[in-house]
Amino acid sequence: MVAIPAQPATPPALASARRLFVRRAAWRWEEIAFWVLAAASYFLFSDHLVLITQAMITGLFVVSLDLMFGYAGIPSFGHAAFFGIGAYTAGILARDGWGDPLTGLVAAALIAGVAGAICSQLVARLHGIAVLMVTLGIGLICYEIANKWNSLTGGDDGLQGMQVQPVLGIFAFDIDGKVGFIYSFIVIFLLYLLARRLVNSPFGLALEGIRENIRRVPAIGIGVRVQLAMAFTISAAMAGVAGALLAETTQFIALEVLGFDRSISVQIALVLGGIGSLIGGMIGAIVYTVARDQLSLINPAYWDFWVGLILCIIVMSGTGGVVGILRRSVGWVVTRVRR
């Protein structure tokens, strides 16, 4: 994982490298604000815990894509494959008698991670549109497998009959979604910390290097393929956990978890929140899920139009999504106040 060159760095360089990592790893105000608000939403919006839980799970999924897309620069049209693999892993285990949620998550992470490792080898030699096409193909193949393998997945009808046991054998999932919320919140927060740790490590720096200039990175002694394979695997495992969380908290899996629409909407949510900032993924997912939930009550078609327009505007203007706008406006206010 550590990609720092083996030869000893000179002390001033080492010191400045340390400063760089400390600065990178510092908590930003929008991260703190988000997590405080997310925790507080348990009390503030106690009637909507199920929706908020789903939004946060989507957030984890978006963050997993951010690792791959925002940091390593690998786009994907099939990320839902790993989300779905995780969901079905946990779901099938719970249906067939292994209902413990935590080990279910671990199993989902493992299987999705293995799938990710295999896929990373498939896309390793490719770049640009070909990557998009191969990930798209992988996603569609997974969807078709789940669709046709009725006996295992329930096919089109979705997976039913999950028996999820209480978390740690104590906290049973309730109809209001309180346990589901707390359980998901803790898991997602821990994985967010892990993702943060990763992107602020030399590994994260190496990924950004690959994204910025894939030809120069080998020149400083970083093996591109190994780093990308690791990023892909970790990202897939995280997406798998997100899928498993969704399966466990809703106790049902629709075939749609593997759908092309989900692969696209996760991309949209990431851009909406802000690429390459991790917290942007969480914020984008919340904005996207809640807004879609509210607006589609009026008419789904309108929602699609506005989200498309917003996507275009964000891409064209390069504002960096919600996080970018927030940072800039706060920066503007701060400079005004200081004057």
């Binding site: 498939l122 490719l126 549109i129 070909a130 096409m133 191969v134 309108y302 917003i310 275009c312 064209m316």
Partner: protein, 287 residues
């Protein structure tokens, strides 16, 4: 045997449709390096123009088709001049995201304007029914598609191979910088190529709806197939796109008929496998 020939005919007709819709996309992606996922939206526009003109205003089929090509070309030009042009040679991911946004918007707009219910699609009486050709018969419309599409393809291939416009396009696909240094106005070249590609897309859409139906999710439904065709064929290669379209069309129809439970796997599996071996597509050149 006659069954098989029948299905083959249907597959070829489907392949021709895919080619018409994807041909322009291939040129855009190969020539301008622009990943236009919204290409299918132009086909949808063509389809709705045909339906609207025929059902509401009683236009004849072929006049409506011509308008579909024209309308799509105009719409394509407007979007190209105002939005897409800014992202040429930019980040591929930005292009993908932007055009996904455009797809989403057009789907919603089509739902708003024309409703989610698929409209009735008519063709002239002489294109309905079937014709006998020796030992097998084929749907007249399919035969018409194969002939019409074949002529159009021939025209396109000749146009790319023999005209100076085609030579410029080939030059730009091969080496854009060198083409610019030869004093070719590449901006205008792109504009024209984009307009022609859009017109083809609109025409393809107008022709497709009788066979495959039309509803606002059309651009999303065919997005995957169009991309498969273009990428497998090789960006910027008209012949590659044609070969891939026919292969995909035939495989799809044959697969649905003989092995319905495996059809989709084969297409996606073969696509992935081809790209693994030849990342630039079957007829594409290394960059």
């Amino acid at each position: 045997m006659a069954d098989f020939v029948n299905i083959l005919g249907a597959g070829i007709a489907y392949g021709v449709l895919l080619f018409l819709m994807a041909g322009g996309l291939s040129v855009t992606m190969g020539l301008m390096g622009f990943a236009n996922l919204a290409h299918g939206s132009l086909s949808m526009l063509g389809g709705y123009i045909v339906v609207m003109l025929m059902n509401w205003y009683g236009w004849p089929f072929f006049a409506a088709l011509a308008m579909a090509a024209l309308g799509a070309a105009v719409a394509g030009l407007i979007v190209e001049r105002t939005v897409f042009r800014r992202l040429y040679w930019g980040n591929e991911l930005d292009q993908v995201l932007l055009t996904i946004g455009v797809v989403t918007m057009t789907v919603a707009a089509a739902t708003f304007i024309w409703g989610a219910v698929p409209p009735a699609v008519h063709v002239p009486a002489f294109l309905e029914g079937r014709v006998h050709l020796g030992f097998f018969d084929i749907g007249s419309y399919r035969l018409f598609l194969i002939v019409f599409g074949g002529l159009l393809t021939l025209g396109l291939v000749l146009g790319i191979d023999k005209t100076s416009f085609g030579a410029k396009i080939r030059a730009a696909v091969d080496n854009r910088r060198m083409t610019v240094s030869c004093g070719i106005n590449i901006d205008r070249l792109f504009m024209l190529a984009f307009a022609i590609g859009s017109a083809l897309a609109g025409l393809g859409g107008g022709l497709a709806i009788y066979l495959v139906g039309l509803d606002p999710s059309f651009p999303v439904k065919y997005l995957v197939y169009l991309l498969v065709v273009v990428v497998v064929g090789g960006l910027g290669s008209i012949r590659g796109t044609l070969a891939a379209s026919l292969a995909l069309g035939i495989c799809d129809v044959l697969g649905k008929y003989y092995i319905p439970y495996l059809g989709a796997f084969i297409i996606y599996g073969v696509t992935v496998a081809i790209l693994m071996v030849r990342p630039n597509g079957l007829f594409g050149r290394g960059r």
